[in-house]
């Protein structure tokens, strides 16, 4: 059984900067981390391997600058077996389609997988499009918003999907692509042993020339969407401030009158 996990290195969200000219993120000099929502995909992969009595091999696959190796290693430290980094200046400026095409090509290069996992979305771009798109490019059934993997055997996968108003129990044949939500599990902390193993693991790096992709599918040129402007909104409201300590009745009264004005009571 082979399991692939797609991960992304993201800037720690508090200190993000944007290049106003290109509309893309400035990654240099900003602290990075493994996308917090990807931790759940990594954890689920490791749990599936444990369920299979260890009879599985987990490969972490990422696209990013050379330093994204750190994110791949962070996943290996949690219990994945190996990694693959797709890194090339020609990948820069990729939108979700170009990213998905590149990742799908990388996955293919890494061989057959019975199951691919991704997080629900990355906390920087917040699109949630790349995982499902990779699944479709590879012609796999795509199950999104997965909140539980019920069974994973005999060529079938049964999962629960978190949707509006409840959960769907859904079955699909393997191989398949799933994107998981945060509620699926609590990611483990990596052990010292895991960290040491990750440190020793060599992460192969593939560039544009190593992937069977036409030039016109790569990077900025291969991206149908173009960021034309970036702005920094300042959402502030100059609301009325009332102290419930000095004036408890006035505070409740103010809430009631605002609720009334908005037609809520």
């Amino acid at each position: 059984m082979r399991i692939g996990v797609l991960v992304k290195q993201v800037p720690a969200t508090e200190n993000v900067k944007i290049d106003e000219k290109t509309g893309t993120m400035i990654r240099e000099g900003v602290d990075s981390e493994l996308n917090p929502l990807d931790l759940h995909a990594v954890e689920e992969a490791v749990r599936l391997k444990e369920r299979l009595g260890g009879d599985a091999e987990i490969t972490v696959i990422s696209m990013g600058p050379p330093q994204a190796q750190k994110a791949v290693k962070a996943a290996i430290a949690m219990g994945c077996d190996g990694g693959l980094l797709l890194s090339d200046r020609r990948f820069a400026g990729s939108d979700t389609l170009a990213t998905a095409r590149t990742l799908a090509a990388g996955v293919k290069q890494a061989g057959h997988f019975d199951l691919l996992l991704s997080g629900e979305r990355a906390t920087d771009g917040e699109t949630g499009q790349v995982g499902p798109a990779v699944g479709e490019i590879l012609n796999l059934p795509v199950l999104t918003f997965v909140s539980a993997v019920e069974s994973f055997s005999d060529g079938y996968l049964t999962v629960q999907r978190a949707v509006e108003g409840g959960h769907e129990r859904v079955q699909a044949p393997l191989p398949a692509m799933i994107s998981v939500v945060k509620e699926i599990n609590v990611p483990r902390l990596c052990t010292l042993g895991g960290k040491l193993r990750a440190k020793k693991t060599v992460i192969p790096v593939l560039g544009a020339d190593d992937l069977p992709l036409p030039q016109e599918h790569l990077g900025l040129a291969g991206s149908p969407t173009k960021v034309v402007k970036v702005s920094y909104p300042q959402i502030t409201r100059s609301g009325k401030k009332i102290s419930a300590v000095d004036n408890p009745d006035g505070a409740v009264e103010a809430i009631l009158s605002l609720l009334g004005a908005r037609g809520a009571v």
Binding site: G166, G239, S243, V245
Partner: protein, 330 residues
């Protein structure tokens, strides 16, 4: 080649056999775009036994409805939705195709745009037309709402995006509106799915799903313990709203993940958001600051939540909320 693509499409959503109101919000978005471009607005309606509801989409602003009514489409499954929509798009060639950023929209659109080899922009909060270039201008927040990006899809068609639910009101229903309903058929292989829906397990949580709620009463660390969330449920019940929570409250198991608002939870835009004992970390503000009206109750006068509040109550939520409940009951 782009000139062959004309018209604006919206993807309707059906839940429990009825057209869901997000479909009408999409028509309000689409109407503006179609009028700017002087093209028809069409709603796509996939489902089973739903054809007779197509007229509702006309009443709510559509000029045309494309219906595919088939037993296989009774429940959403991404593979056959994609195949059916690909067939319809290739047949009729709309220049714009929008869906709601619901679990369905955020699943089918990222699969569909791969097959159509075009661009897709997620979770837009504003859409307009650049009439000079005849292009859709898609505006979306990114990086926790710290950045707004304007995005275009200049060379590929259709221009596709999802829009955040509840970010626009449906148009007033106009029973006098007329339009055309087209019953479409697709090849049988387009309706053959490998995915099986086994069962639907409804949330035991009372109230509307968080993204649909008009009023959200949310709690954070200032609620002090899980049992105090009962106060929020009582208040939400009295106001006809739903209960939300900060990440901290969810991490402490005071509330389920499905109620988490913020960067690693849900983005919500209710009419009224009442934040109780939530300090307002950037990650939380990202998920709720676009609400119409924000009322915040927090004991720290410097809490960041007050920066986005229309009404800031400095005080202990555990005193203010019970007092409010008392007044609402009397």
């Amino acid at each position: 080649m782009n000139a062959e693509y004309r018209g604006v499409w919206t993807l309707s959503e059906v839940r429990d056999g009825r057209i869901h109101p997000v479909s009408y919000e999409l028509l309000a978005w689409g109407r503006d775009l179609a009028d700017s471009l002087e093209v028809p607005l069409s709603a796509v309606l996939l489902g089973h036994n739903i054809a007779e509801q197509a007229g509702d989409l006309i009443v709510q602003g559509a000029d045309q409805v494309y219906v595919v009514d088939d037993l296989e489409l009774a429940h959403f499954r991404p593979d056959i939705w994609t195949k059916t929509l690909t067939a319809l798009v290739n047949r009729h060639r709309p220049e714009i195709f929008i869906a709601s950023a619901t679990s369905t929209g955020r699943t089918v659109m990222p699969v569909l745009y791969v097959d159509l080899e075009t661009g897709l922009t997620a979770d837009c909060t504003e859409l307009s037309i650049d009439t000079k270039e005849r292009l859709l201008l898609q505006t979306r927040p990114a990086i926790g709402g710290n950045v707004m990006a304007d995005i275009k899809t200049p060379f590929c068609r259709p221009q596709m995006c999802t829009v955040r639910p509840r970010s626009k009101k449906p148009l007033a229903a106009d029973p006098a509106r007329t339009g055309k309903v087209f019953t479409e058929s697709v090849a049988p292989e387009s309706l053959s799915s490998v995915i099986k829906l086994l069962e639907f397990l409804p949330e035991k949580n009372v109230g509307a799903p968080l993204q649909d709620a008009e009023i959200i009463v949310a709690g954070g660390k200032g609620m002090k313990k899980a049992a105090n969330f009962a106060l929020l449920e009582e208040l939400a019940g009295l106001l006809g709203g739903s209960v939300g929570a900060s990440r901290m409250a969810v991490d402490l198991n005071w509330a389920p993940y499905s109620s988490q608002v913020g960067l690693s939870g849900k983005s919500v835009t209710p009419k009224i958001y009442i934040a109780c004992g939530i300090s307002g970390a950037v990650q939380h503000l990202a998920g709720m600051s676009a609400s119409d009206t924000v009322i915040a109750i927090n004991s720290d006068p410097e809490a960041p939540i007050f920066r986005v509040a229309d009404l800031a109550i400095v005080g202990d939520a555990l005193e203010v909320v019970p007092a409010l409940i008392g007044r609402l009951k009397s």
